[in-house]
């Protein structure tokens, strides 16, 4: 293809997300050349990891034309539950003083299971009771947060931050394998699994069909309710994993963990090309969406700009991304 002016413009527009990410990187490097280092990139990827896992969950919801306001609170509950079950036997202030040290996999699976359950409930309420997803997940968010506070306040803990996690559990968030932080490896594996699921399985394709048109999907013999429950459940499980990693990464957990993460996740998905109308969304898009937000947070701190500005930038980016997307789609039709 000849590189005429209009062609270049088209290539830039088609890959706008990558261009924006690259552009931000270049600007940051120009301002502060030290930005270009493995440590910085590693830190950004580590910070992005939990956010990415949560955003992937959110993507499922957006693809089926749903909404999920419970994400952050489910992350918080999963973090507290995992944390309470992952304390080392020598820690002085244990949540369950008599609990022996459990293998790492136990708190992880229980937390993911709790997340899955919360998502499943969301799905049932949306699909079977036909409650608007906005309201259904708002309700579940409150219920989940309420239970989390009750659990967190159980004696002898009485709402003190959890800590003293076992080495194995902390290694999920802080350890490294072959020099690559474990948390990045976990996020990468999740991303690949979600990508393959979405692109190469029948259920993955049916998520898009249901999101594109529930009525048409139903005529085509797709069990629409089942697919909706599946999407919310998968999202819940990913939120659960996100909570586990958040506790492991920070070495602590409180009932306020995860607050507001659902909004960040929705924003990342939308910037990454998911449509709030359903039927559209790609894993690479969501990955770049998450990275853009984390590069902004980290980069602005790195070059010494007030963190208050970060929110201003994020807000502007969300609006610009959607405004551009609308225009791009309009041209196509």
């Amino acid at each position: 293809m000849e590189l005429t002016q209009s062609n270049i413009k088209k290539i830039l527009m088609d890959n706008l997300l990558y261009v924006v990410l690259l552009f931000m990187f270049v600007i940051l490097i120009i301002i502060s050349p030290a930005f270009l280092s493995w440590i910085v990139i590693r830190d950004i990827l580590m910070q992005s990891s939990t956010r990415l896992i949560i955003a992937l969950g959110c993507m499922f919801i957006l693809i089926v034309a749903g909404a999920d306001l419970s994400g952050g609170r489910v992350v918080g509950l999963a973090a507290v539950i995992a944390g309470s079950l992952a304390q080392s036997s020598t820690f002085y202030n244990k949540f369950f003083p008599m609990l022996p040290e459990l293998p790492v996999i136990v708190p992880v699976l229980i937390a993911i299971g709790i997340g899955l359950l919360a998502g499943f409930l969301n799905g049932i309420i949306v699909a079977k009771l036909e409650v608007n997803p906005f309201i259904a997940t708002l309700g579940i968010a409150l219920v989940v947060y309420g239970f989390n506070c009750l659990y967190f306040n159980l004696p002898p803990n009485n709402s003190q931050p959890l800590g003293g996690f076992t080495k194995g559990f902390s290694a999920l968030g802080g350890g490294a394998t072959l020099g690559i932080p474990n948390i990045i490896i976990i996020a990468a594996v999740c991303t690949i699994i979600v990508y393959l699921f979405q692109r190469k399985t029948c259920l993955g394709k049916e998520l898009f069909a249901v999101g594109g048109s529930k009525d048409a999907a139903r005529v085509s013999g797709i069990n629409v309710e089942k697919i909706l429950v599946l999407a919310y459940s998968l999202a819940g499980a990913l939120y659960g994993l996100g909570g586990v990693l958040e506790a492991a990464r920070t070495g602590s957990a409180t009932s306020t963990y995860g607050a507001g993460y659902e909004m960040d996740a929705i924003a990342s998905c939308v910037v990454g090309g998911c449509s709030l109308m359903g039927g559209v969304g790609s894993v690479p898009g969501v990955v770049v969406g998450v990275l853009i937000f984390n590069v902004i947070s980290y980069g602005l701190t790195f070059i010494g700009i007030s963190s208050y500005w970060q929110n201003v930038f994020k807000g502007v980016i969300i609006i610009c991304a959607v405004a551009l997307d609308v225009r791009k789609n309009r041209k196509k039709n």
Binding site: C202, K205, A209, D215, A216, R218, V219, G221, I222, K332
Partner: protein, 508 residues
């Protein structure tokens, strides 16, 4: 005659994959009814939308009172004396009649400058005056959602007149009107003509056009066939010009010795779980047979067939396939019994608009024929999916740049072929087609008829709901006519007449 009111000058307009209008020219004189006719997909609505500022023509000019004009929005068109009655109703159901009439132009009165409130009294008086002029008897304060469809249509007409336009475009205004209401419309048109207004009148109804218009422009597949004075032509000429070939060729030949096999589907005493829908419907379809289902709007034909397909709940009755009683509680059950359903509302219940042709075609088969598309325990074989999609796209001659093209960018006829492919892939024994050729151009229609004939020659059974009489009579072996949820009769398709069907369709 001097300068024509409106001159269409070499207008062309393309959409991705289709040339909707190709070099169209004609003029509309002052105070005349100028009809525009053509089969579905001929480009009539596209042309009207170009004139009204909803679309931009790629080439050509629109000349109004001798001035070149291209409206970039409908506001400009309205301000320049063109108003339009759309094919689809454009009402705001939650508002009342007068608010709908004056939408965008609601009169205000000042309370304390700059605070303004709507001037209900003026609006009410203006509405009454307008209805008085048009001889309409509608309460201006009634909510639009409480009006019948035909009254809503009259409301649209009143609104179009209220702009004091010099040219009113009417896009199939009588499609939801009874004869009595159509007569009201014609008297309104008569009155408008006498006051010097011109009408661009789009209709499928030949008698209507012969009765009320002065000239007619005929379009076919986006090209201009010609503009004629009504007094110089007859209805046969109109039909021939629209279709582009003799009427005898509109349907493929019936097979010489049709071989109907055993009963494939037998429905007995079926009653809907929805009160007021259908009840006590019994019929059967044989192998190799096309059963047409005729009836007017509200006959519950779609509801019946969607119930048979498991999409709507049933209270009573039995369904047998190949002599065995079956329970169909969901579309999945029906598909497992080798049934397919091509729905009436293509945009809402047919296409998955955001997905590609391949994903649209495979959506049924990849689940109900899963072993075929499985590469291993988990993943689908995307190469096979694509090659199957490519094969059907070619066989059905779907016009598309690629099989990865988004289905919503195809024309209606090509979308319909993709959807047909979706069901053909499943190799169904019973195929239910609900208005299979609605909104499709003549060529694609004929291709769909050929596919239907091919399927029946393979011993498949087809149930075809259709509101087009010629289609019912040209394709069906038997025609079942419904009226208001009742079965009014089943007649032989080869000998059926319009009158016979119409009589049955209005027998309750």
């Amino acid at each position: 005659m001097g300068t024509p009111l409106l001159k269409i000058n070499h207008i062309s307009k393309s959409f991705p994959g289709v040339k909707a209008l190709d070099d169209i020219s004609f003029s509309v004189e002052k105070g005349r009814v100028h009809a525009v006719m053509g089969e579905n997909g001929a480009g009539k609505s596209t042309l009207m939308k170009c004139i009204f500022g909803l679309y931009h023509p790629d080439e050509g000019d629109i000349i109004l009172y001798g001035n070149k004009c291209l409206f970039s929005n409908t506001r400009q068109a309205l301000d320049n004396g063109i108003s339009m009655i759309h094919q689809e109703l454009q009402n705001v159901p939650s508002q009342n009649v007068m608010e709908n009439i004056w939408i965008g132009r609601i009169p205000y009165k000042k309370v304390i400058s700059p605070l303004r409130i709507t001037d209900e009294d003026k609006m009410y008086k203006d509405t009454l005056a307008l209805f008085d002029k048009l001889n309409l008897d509608i309460d201006p304060k009634k909510a639009v959602k409480d009006l019948s469809v035909s009254t809503c249509q009259l409301l649209e007409i009143a609104r179009a007149v209220s702009y004091n336009a010099k040219l009113i475009i009417m896009d199939e205004p009588t499609s939801s009107l009874t004869d009595k209401e159509a007569a009201i419309l014609f008297s309104i048109i008569d009155m408008l003509i006498k006051s010097g207004v011109s009408i661009l009148y789009i209709s499928h109804k030949i008698e209507e056009v012969m009765q009320i218009s002065n000239e007619v422009t005929i379009l076919r597949d986006g090209t201009l066939v010609g503009t004629y004075k009504i007094k110089d032509i007859d209805s046969d000429f109109l039909i021939r010009s629209m279709v582009g070939r003799e009427l005898t060729n509109r349907f493929p030949q019936r097979p010489q010795n049709p071989h109907l096999g055993d009963v494939m589907l037998k429905v007995s005493h079926l009653e809907s779980a929805v009160p007021g829908s259908f009840s006590d419907i019994s019929f059967d379809v044989k192998r190799g047979e096309i059963l047409g289902i005729g009836g007017l709007v509200g006959a519950q034909r779609t509801e019946l067939m969607e119930s048979v397909f498991g999409l709507r709940p049933v209270k009573n009755g039995t369904i047998e396939i190949n002599g065995e009683p079956v329970t169909i509680k969901s579309s999945g059950d029906a598909i497992k019994k080798k049934m397919g359903l091509l729905t009436e509302e293509r945009a809402r219940t047919g296409i998955l608009g955001k997905l590609s042709i391949t994903d649209n075609m495979l959506v049924v088969n990849q689940r109900y024929n899963l072993p075929r598309y499985r590469k291993n325990l988990i993943f689908l074989n995307n190469t096979l999916r694509k090659s199957d999609s490519r094969e059907y796209t070619k066989d059905l001659s779907v016009k598309t740049p690629s099989i990865d093209t988004q289905i919503s960018s195809l024309s209606g006829g090509n979308q319909q072929k993709v959807l047909l492919g979706r069901w053909l892939m499943l190799n169904p024994d019973i195929l239910i087609l609900d208005e299979p050729t609605r909104g499709i151009d003549v060529g694609a229609k004929y291709e769909i008829y050929l596919i239907m004939r091919k399927l029946t020659s393979q011993g498949k059974s087809i149930i075809m709901i259709s509101s087009e009489m010629p289609e019912l009579m040209g394709m069906s072996d038997r025609i079942m006519v419904m009226c208001e949820g009742h079965l009014s009769g089943i007649i032989d398709g080869k000998t059926a007449t319009d009158e016979e069907i119409m009589k049955l369709a209005s027998s309750y």
